[in-house]
Symmetry: D2
Subunit: 272 residues, 4 copies
Amino acid sequence: MTATSLPAPTGYSLPLSPSGTSAMITPPPWHFSGDVIMVDYRVDPEAAARFLPPGLDLGPDPGAAAAVFAEWQWCSESGAELADPATCQFSEFLLLIGCSHDGRPMARCPYAWVDQPVPMVRGWIQGMPKQFGAIHQTRPKPVGIAGQRPAPGERLHGSLSVSGRRVAEAGVELTGLADEPPFLHTVPLVHTRHFPAWTPDDEPVSDLVTSEVTGVEFTPVWRGEADLRLFDVLDGDFAALAPVEIGAGYVFSYAETLRGGRLLAPAADPGR
Amino acid sequence: MTATSLPAPTGYSLPLSPSGTSAMITPPPWHFSGDVIMVDYRVDPEAAARFLPPGLDLGPDPGAAAAVFAEWQWCSESGAELADPATCQFSEFLLLIGCSHDGRPMARCPYAWVDQPVPMVRGWIQGMPKQFGAIHQTRPKPVGIAGQRPAPGERLHGSLSVSGRRVAEAGVELTGLADEPPFLHTVPLVHTRHFPAWTPDDEPVSDLVTSEVTGVEFTPVWRGEADLRLFDVLDGDFAALAPVEIGAGYVFSYAETLRGGRLLAPAADPGR
Amino acid sequence: MTATSLPAPTGYSLPLSPSGTSAMITPPPWHFSGDVIMVDYRVDPEAAARFLPPGLDLGPDPGAAAAVFAEWQWCSESGAELADPATCQFSEFLLLIGCSHDGRPMARCPYAWVDQPVPMVRGWIQGMPKQFGAIHQTRPKPVGIAGQRPAPGERLHGSLSVSGRRVAEAGVELTGLADEPPFLHTVPLVHTRHFPAWTPDDEPVSDLVTSEVTGVEFTPVWRGEADLRLFDVLDGDFAALAPVEIGAGYVFSYAETLRGGRLLAPAADPGR
Amino acid sequence: MTATSLPAPTGYSLPLSPSGTSAMITPPPWHFSGDVIMVDYRVDPEAAARFLPPGLDLGPDPGAAAAVFAEWQWCSESGAELADPATCQFSEFLLLIGCSHDGRPMARCPYAWVDQPVPMVRGWIQGMPKQFGAIHQTRPKPVGIAGQRPAPGERLHGSLSVSGRRVAEAGVELTGLADEPPFLHTVPLVHTRHFPAWTPDDEPVSDLVTSEVTGVEFTPVWRGEADLRLFDVLDGDFAALAPVEIGAGYVFSYAETLRGGRLLAPAADPGR
């Protein structure tokens, strides 16, 4: 008996298996519903520029940046994951840098952390550089003293620790409703989908892509006074994105459906 | 120099320290705000009776029981913990058995699990038998496909795993608003505050106490069709509390302030 | 100022950054030193064959399989990771299936789990289908009652839980030294390096590769009577690899240096 | 039917249950086998004195202190826990201060952290102020580049993080075998067994006790040059125990059986 007469093991991702049901990652679309605490801030534009690959520039507002905490629930097309809350929830922290591609404003995510393995690997598939961290943010509760609610004067907080070291902390004291969502949460994300080479015959995958998203929903957006601290406990590249000025904070819920990617530029650029 | 001329190290709990600020547990009152998924069920009354210490009887509804998932935020009197969401949040799963003390309906908690150390130790101080587990429950989100919201037809879920084994799962499919909160969530808890003996000179602490609670708040309570599974992966005593009938499910938020305990009966009862 | 005049952000893996120091994964070589508990077992050969991609066959011993627990310490070429034990340790559980490529005996790994994010992503780079799990195995200690030591009559154990469900358990009661290491731990691993497509322009990466390893060291290998349980709590594909017969158990330490991969067959096979 | 005709639920600890098998903590004796990395250091004697309760003084070497990392395996009398490595392993970090009771040299543990709930609660029963932390230490491996072995020139490391903040780091570069174990690991521990009051009728349990230990075993003890950092991320009381001088480091394995406690002084001392 030889294996070659059988169909190859299959699946959207590893592990490949006879029926494909073992794959760690389900194929898109993926639906996300989340609660967000976001702080606008400014970085040294020159530092930001060094994080942009060829094809992107700093755009109309050089140095615009944001720190985003989000607590998500997700499911794939079938919705099956929602029946197991141990699987369908994760927390995320990411930085965003304002940029532009062919004159279109976009956001670049230089760093991101999540606390579950499935969204980490799914991030790498789409080019989002998700690592593992411990992320916590205030969960508003409708009753009692211990559940800050969106209302003027209430304070919400977020924190990120990586490998047992505190990396980021933020707080927002709400003042009122904003007219619109924070700008960097309204523009497309532009990622470098990167998969290292492994054999002498390989070239790394390294494509500039943007995410194709539908079903965007925002709740009303609360705005407030913010604080933000990024601690210098990682490498110098991360430290270069420390705040030089801190802007407004925002609290809102958000939903989207992520359907796939669109190629902006392949890696086959001979200049690289 | 001798230590005896100095004030003794102090604190509400261990670790005792010169100023008392190192104590793991802050003194009460403790404020709690939480989101609850609860399933009424029935156990074999004889099995329930074996979990009741002298002084308690099964009361007016022998065999009434409930399984409760709750995701809490808490703070002590100063509210300081709310500034660090890595500290002030925990999830809990517990069983309740209906009982009665001197004719007053109460609820007995034979088993409880939390996912943070501070509420675990705080449980032992008040007599609540909290162990460590992984607890997850659906978090409603106001927007999107992946955030089930309290509304007819929506399903919320909860699960408990202990030492890598699935112990409990529940689901509630909402049908409408209930007239009132589920009964076992409205009566006082009655605990045995137990601290083992350690030296030959000791007797264990073992007092029947009830909790003194103020500031109770309920949101409107959603009701629905429930399912509940308790898996036989712990000991036979736990298995004896498996459901013989499953009742309604409930989804609501709840707040209380826990102020201390009241002694119902000391252990020094010669009848024991 | 435009970003295009600057060097592109760089790195062996995501996150790409100006100096490349932010990359989650260091480039190979990677050095591994680990303690292993391994159980030989047999699966239905037909089930095993369905896990083999074109180019592999079941080889000389159809149905040969193994379950492997390993507790690793690792470092990259600089050795820097060894200074932070929170970073350089992980535990692993994997299944192996005996197979053959062009008449050369190899081992196929259909399922693997680790408990740290860096080895998980590193697994995907080399084609090893590592997911996240809780893995524990007996750690021999040279003194005392609670530290089973390699010696006749001693029992060592391992367990795997995934998402709070027990997936695998094994035990080995040692009888004496083996003449040689277990066969499936001595042959090269053959993986499918798979990276999903994301944009309409993509084809998935899907290459058959083998790992290039140097510096292999074994301690003397203990052998014993084994038990092994794979629980049917994942999908049917995993369940198809349940033991039909359980062979010997082995306990040993092992080291290797992983230097990269070698391409056995590209995905560009037009038959796929 | 009333419960009062039934035997009371029982157990060494909570949860009490009909047969007592649900208790989280088994009764002593408890057997421990562990690998230790220990650093002798010196604190300000006046700071140390403030951590000593009445009945203890600083003894013959005021300011002697140690930081101890240990990775344990444990079991109770039956040995049953050893069959489940997910249950019988934990890591610990603790500080020790040299002291004296009635002229007998002892060690006081002002702070301790473990990474598993059972040893945390067991610590409170015996008066050891164990909190929850993430503790990692080098695991020597007998083969390969990534497993530092006890030998001259090798470096072993330990770290403690609490709530996502790095609290302690230590390293030892081995120089040779020591003549004897480090002093503070050879003297009895003296604890304050403290259980807070809960009802208006209670007094806190607060007894000065020492641990009764048998079956002590040491492997040969390696000695070396040490470094130690305690970070000021907890309260001021902890910060007061920062090193003013760092002594030798030690690496060894150790076993003991903990059989119970002996009362040195009850809290009812009217002098308090």
